[in-house]
Symmetry: C2
Subunit: 527 residues, 2 copies
Amino acid sequence: MTATLALTGSMLIGASDVRGSGGEVRGVNPATGEALEPVYGLGDESDVDTAVSLAWQAFPAYRATTLAARSAFLGTVADNIDALGDTLVSRVVAETGIPAPRVRMELGRTTNQLRLFASVVADGRFLGARLDTPDPDRTPLPKPDLRQRKIPLGPVAVFSASNFPLAFSVAGGDTASALAAGAPVVVKAHSAHPGTSELVGRAIRAAVAEHNLPEGVFSLLFGDGRTLGTALVRHPRIAAVGFTGSRSGGLALVAAAQSRPAPIPVYAEMSSVNPVILLPGALASSGASLGTAFVTSLTTSAGQLCTNPGLVFALGDPTDFLAAAGEAVRAAPGAAMLTATIQQSYVAGVSRLVDAAGVDEVALGGADDTIAACGQAGLFVTDGDTFLAEPALQQEVFGAASLVVRVRDVAQLDEILSTLEGQLTATVHADETDHGTVTELLPTLELLAGRVLYGGWPTGVEVGHAVVHGGPFPATSTPSTTSVGTLAIERWLRPVAYQNLPSALLPAELRDGNPLDIPRLRDGAAE
Amino acid sequence: MTATLALTGSMLIGASDVRGSGGEVRGVNPATGEALEPVYGLGDESDVDTAVSLAWQAFPAYRATTLAARSAFLGTVADNIDALGDTLVSRVVAETGIPAPRVRMELGRTTNQLRLFASVVADGRFLGARLDTPDPDRTPLPKPDLRQRKIPLGPVAVFSASNFPLAFSVAGGDTASALAAGAPVVVKAHSAHPGTSELVGRAIRAAVAEHNLPEGVFSLLFGDGRTLGTALVRHPRIAAVGFTGSRSGGLALVAAAQSRPAPIPVYAEMSSVNPVILLPGALASSGASLGTAFVTSLTTSAGQLCTNPGLVFALGDPTDFLAAAGEAVRAAPGAAMLTATIQQSYVAGVSRLVDAAGVDEVALGGADDTIAACGQAGLFVTDGDTFLAEPALQQEVFGAASLVVRVRDVAQLDEILSTLEGQLTATVHADETDHGTVTELLPTLELLAGRVLYGGWPTGVEVGHAVVHGGPFPATSTPSTTSVGTLAIERWLRPVAYQNLPSALLPAELRDGNPLDIPRLRDGAAE
C-alpha cells in the first residue's frame, strides 16, 4: 500500500468522510513542481458547522473521561502515527520538500510530544486542584469550603502551520495540548500538505474509535483560510483557537475572534527574527567556529523555522565570524522551499536586503535550477547606525537569509534592543570575559523574548516542561503562554471554584481524601 | 486631623502631587446630595505619560526586589491603610453611602488581601520555577539545560470600581496582585470616591518611600474614563490592564487595547446576574427561610455587588419562598445608592421589569425621601416561557432588584441555562432528594460560571487560594483567570525559559541548589 492509494481527498468530519464542494486543492511537490494525487475538496461553512456541532456534542463525555482513559487515548494517537512510518515520511517529503531525515526527527518529536502530554494528563497536576480549609466557627462570618480545579474551555480550533507538517499541524502541539486538556479539536489543515494531514487525521480518528470516544472529539477540515477559517473562529461553539503562521494570518484570526458576540482567546504564534548577540570575548576566541555553526542553524529546513536566526548583532570584531559564515553560506546548496508562494516571498525579502542602502552582501548560497521552488541562502552585513535608521531591516525574511549588524558598543546595542519587537528567542554568545555584559543584558533579553539562550542556536526547540515557545507581541498574540511544552495545556483551561459542595457531588479530583492521588494545594501549600 | 483636612485634590504621580488641569470633580454624598471637599483636578494625556514613564523607569528595580523585600512592602501597604482607621471609614461612608460596618469589613478584606499576597510573594510558588534536567549524551542531539520562571509583563493600569471603594479600587485586588507580581501600577481612580482614593493612594506612596523603592512603583490619576482612561490603556509602556465595572466600559478598554500597535491583555470583570436555582426538595423543606435569606443577600450594599443574585429559577412550588421573600423586601428600607447616575439606571431597570409583559411585581421595598440617591428594593416573578421569549429579562439590573422565574421542569431549566450568558457565579439550593438533579446540572453550571455554590448566596466572596471571581464572557473578558484570590497574580506574569545559562548568571530562583528554597518542578514533578 502506498500513501497515495490510502488517501481519499475527503475531509474527516467526526467518523464521516466528507467530500468538500467549495473548491479544490492538491499537494504540490515543491522540488519538482509536480501536482500530487488525490485532489482535495475544500469545505464551506456548513462543513464547519457540522464539525463544530459534533465537537460540542462530544465535549461533555470527552471532558469527563478519566485521566487514565484520556492519557491512554493520547498514547494510541502517538502509536497510530508512528505506525504510519515510511508511508507518512514519504508523503511529507513529497509535499514539503523537507529532507527525509528531518521529517523522521519531526515525526519522533510529534509522537513524543503526544506521549509527554499523555503523562501530563495521567499526573493530574494540570488540573490545578486547590482546596481551602473551611472554618465554620470563624466570626463574623464562617469561612466557606472552597475548592478549585481547571476545566476545558470548550471545543478548540487548530490551524496547521506550513513549516512543521507534523509537529505544528494536525497532531501537533496545539492539538496534543487541547486534547490533553479535555477539549475536542477541529483542525483546519494547511493546504500545502493535504495528504500528510489526511494520513495523520485518520490516525487520530482511529484512536478515537479504538477508545470508544464520541466521534466529534476530532475533525479535519480543508478550506480557504479567509472563508472557512474565519467561519471556524466565529462559530459560537468554538471556545479558543490555536494558530501558527504569518503575522497577517494570525492578526486576521484575532480580529475575527474579537468581533464575535462573545470573544474568545486566539493563541497565535506569528513573527520572530530571533536576534543573536555575539559578544567580544566569544567573537575573539571562537569567531570562525561560531560563523560555521551559525550557518548550519540558518540553513536548516531552508531557513523556514519560526526560530531561524534572522538578525545577528556583533559587538567586537566580526571578521573571522563573517569569513567563516560567508564560506559556509557559499557552500550551502539550494534547497526546496515549502511552497512556490513562500519561495516568491523569500526572493522578494532577499531583494530588499540586496537593495537596501548601507547593507552589503557577504555571501549567497548555491542555486539549483533542478529545484522548482529553490531557496538560496543569503548573508548580509550592515552597521548599527544603518540598522537604527531603517526599521524595515528588522522585518522577518522567512527563509535562510540573515543580517549581521556591526554594533559600536553596549550603549548602541541597548538602543537597538529597545527598538526590537517581541521575539520567540534571544541568544547571546559569550565567554567568561563577557559575563559582566551578559548580566547587564539579561533583563532586557528576558523582556524581549520567551526563551533566552546562552550559546547554541535558537532553531532547536526542546519539548519538555521548562521550555517556552512564546513571547511578547508580535512573536505571539498572547505572551502569557507557550505553544510548545507542557505548560501549553493551560491555554485551553479555566479555573472553576466549588463552594460548600458535599464531597460526593464534587469532581473526583477535589473530593476528600484525594482519591485520584494527584498533586493538590491545600491552603496554598502542597497537600 | 479630619480626612477633609488631609486631602489635597491632587493626583499622586510618583512622589509628586500634581494638580490636574483637565477639569474638576468632587465627591458627592449620595445620601445627602452634598458635594464634598476638596475639589479634584482631572489629569490629561501628559499626566498619563508622566506616570507611566515613571512606572517604566521603576520597573527594572521593582521587579528585581527580593521576595522578602517585596513581601514586606505589601505588608507595609496594608499596615498604612489600616492605620488610616476611622479617617478612611468615614470618608468612604461620606462618598459612597455604604454603611460604616460594611466599610469596616471591606477595609479588613482589603488589607487581608494585601497580606495574603505578601505571603504568596514570600512563598515563591507563583514564580512557576521549572527545571528540566539536561542530558549532554543524548543522541542524536544533546538535551539542553532548560529552566523556566515567570516574570511580570510590565507596568499595569488599574481602573477602580465604584462599588468596592477599597477592595476593588486603589489598593484592591488588581493593585495587590500586580504589585505582588513585580509590576508597577498606575491607578485611575473612580470619580465617585476621590477622597477615599487619595487617602489610600497616600498610604501606598508612603510604603514605597519607606521601602526605598523607586517612586514610579505607584501613581494615582484622576480623570475621565474615555479620554484619560483610553490614553492610559494605549500608552506603549503599559503592558496589561485590570478593570472592574460596566460591560460597556470594559469593552471600550478591550477595544482600545486591541487597537494598539502591540495589543495587550485587559482583564475586565463586567456583567453578571448570578443565577440561583431552587430545587424542589429545598423549596419544600425550607422555602420560607430561603426567601428571607435571599433578600438579605439581595439587599446587601443596596444590591450593588457584582455577585448580586439577580435571577432565581424555582423548580417546584415557590409559594413559601415568594411569601417570605416578599415580606422581607417590603421590610427593606430604602438605601443610598453609590451615585445619582447609578440610582437613575437602577430606576430605569426596575421600570423595565414593572412594564414587562408576563412579569408580576411580588413586592417593592421601602423608599426614603430623605436619601438623595435612594434605591428601593424590588422583587418580580415570571414563568419560564416568558423568560425564554424575552432575552432582555436576563440583563443585569445593578441594584437590589431580582426576578424569580417559575420553571416547569428540568428540561425547561436546561433550555433556560443554555440561553444564559457567562456568569461570575451559579448557585443551587438542594436537599438530599435533589442530589440527582444537582449531579445532572453541575456540568452545565461549571461551564456557565466561575464559581458554583451549593447552598448559601453568591454575594460573599471569600479571598483565598481556591476562590474564583471570574467566568465566561461577559462576566469577564478573559475567562482563564480570576480577579480575586491568589491565582490572580498569574494575570500579570509570563513565562521565560533560560537555555544553557551558567547557574551563576541565572536568576536566583532557578540556580542550582534552590538557594531561595521555593517550590520548583524538576522534570515535571515537585523538586
